[in-house]
Amino acid sequence: MWKAQDNHLRTKMQTTKKERFIGLIDEHKKIIYKIVNSYCANPADRKDLEQEIIIQLWDAFDKYNPEFKYSTWMYRIALNTAISYYRKEKKWHTKTDSFDNATIFHLRTEETEHREQMNKKVEMLQHFIQSLNELNKALMLLYLEEKSHSEIAEILGISKTNVATKIGRIKLKLKNEFLKNLNYETE
């Protein structure tokens, strides 16, 4: 009797935890979506990485430190997972028994339509981000999310001055890239 009640309570707590977790993912879904798209060019890899990030977030959910914002915590986990995945360190990957082919993030419009609607400059920007090395990519993503220098420093684990210097360099590179591409189009 007691055991049954205990199990029922445990299941209920787990359900509530999962619901809270899903709510949190929903609230910050753009973070994961953007990271996945920046680190994986291949749609199949994207699905795997989405799953991988969700699993890592779930594993760390109980250990969340309220000293940090949820977004900072999520960025750290998602970026660390994405870089590990990007580096093809299969041994760091978690393993699940089964998972269907559905993606975790869903675009309400068709992918092709979305691509057509997408501003050319956004595509150019995404292409540029994908060309950066894994750590600069993380830095740029955070910068583009309008994170403050101190938050970027906190997520990445480098100094604020270093963040500012690196952003300056990447922006200059980005500016040249844009100019080159735009000139090429108008020629």
Partner: protein
């Protein structure tokens, strides 16, 4: 590119994502989150086996040295093996510590460094292997004594032993210089890259390249 143009592009993209992006929560429900099995555990098990093996070997060598204390050549040979095993044990304990510290909610650079150090672990064994070159006789003397109960040293020509010790003694210093060069800090040198890739394989070289990138990123 105007100063605000980048921000405009991004807010447009952000707004678009707000409209079209939704979470497929049914998919998350289907993932068996409770049953995920971290593969880091497998790496941890391997490293822990290393720690146990090296510890057992150290105990054995310790007792070997004690038992052969009065046969100087055997005690010295055992001592040399003891030192190499101790270095390997320290390396493996370091790995177990690193693996236990890997927590994805910590800063990205810190975690990347730890992961790449774990991935570059093979280099330590390669260095130890190279370093043991001039003292390989220690392995032979101890192994033949332990497994065949024969003291090889008494059958060796003293002149040969002397020449051998001098040549290998002289070799130790260039070898130490060479091994010190085999580090991610020297990957800009082509010969270092080639040797590392040749002796450790692609995976270790990738890890070392990443360590170099991390160092550059930090500075």
């Amino acid at each position: 590119m105007k100063p605000n143009e980048l921000n405009e592009i991004l807010s447009a993209y952000d707004a678009k994502l707000d409209r079209i992006l939704s979470l497929n929560s049914a998919s998350i429900q289907k993932i068996n989150l409770q049953k995920t099995k971290k593969k880091t555990q497998t790496v941890l098990i391997f490293r822990s086996i290393e720690v146990v093996t090296f510890s057992a070997l150290l105990l054995f060598l310790g007792s070997y040295i004690a038992n052969h204390w009065f046969s100087t050549h055997l005690a010295v040979s055992g001592g040399i093996l003891f030192v190499f095993t101790l270095i390997a044990l320290i390396g493996s304990i370091g790995q177990v510590t690193l693996l236990n510290q890997i927590d994805y909610s910590k800063p990205v650079v810190e975690i990347r460094k730890k992961i790449e150090r774990v991935n570059a672990h093979v280099l330590l064994f390669v260095k130890l292997l190279f370093l043991s070159g001039p003292v390989w006789w220690a392995y032979s003397l101890v192994a033949i004594d332990v497994f065949l109960d024969t003291d090889l040293y008494v059958h060796l020509d003293p002149d040969f032993v002397q020449r051998y010790l001098i040549i290998n003694g002289v070799l130790i210093f260039p070898l130490l210089w060479f091994l010190n060069k085999l580090s991610f800090k020297n990957l800009h040198l082509k010969w270092v890259r080639t040797i590392i890739s040749w002796v450790t394989g692609t995976k270790t070289q990738q890890a070392l390249t990443s360590l170099k990138q991390i160092e550059e990123f930090e500075n």
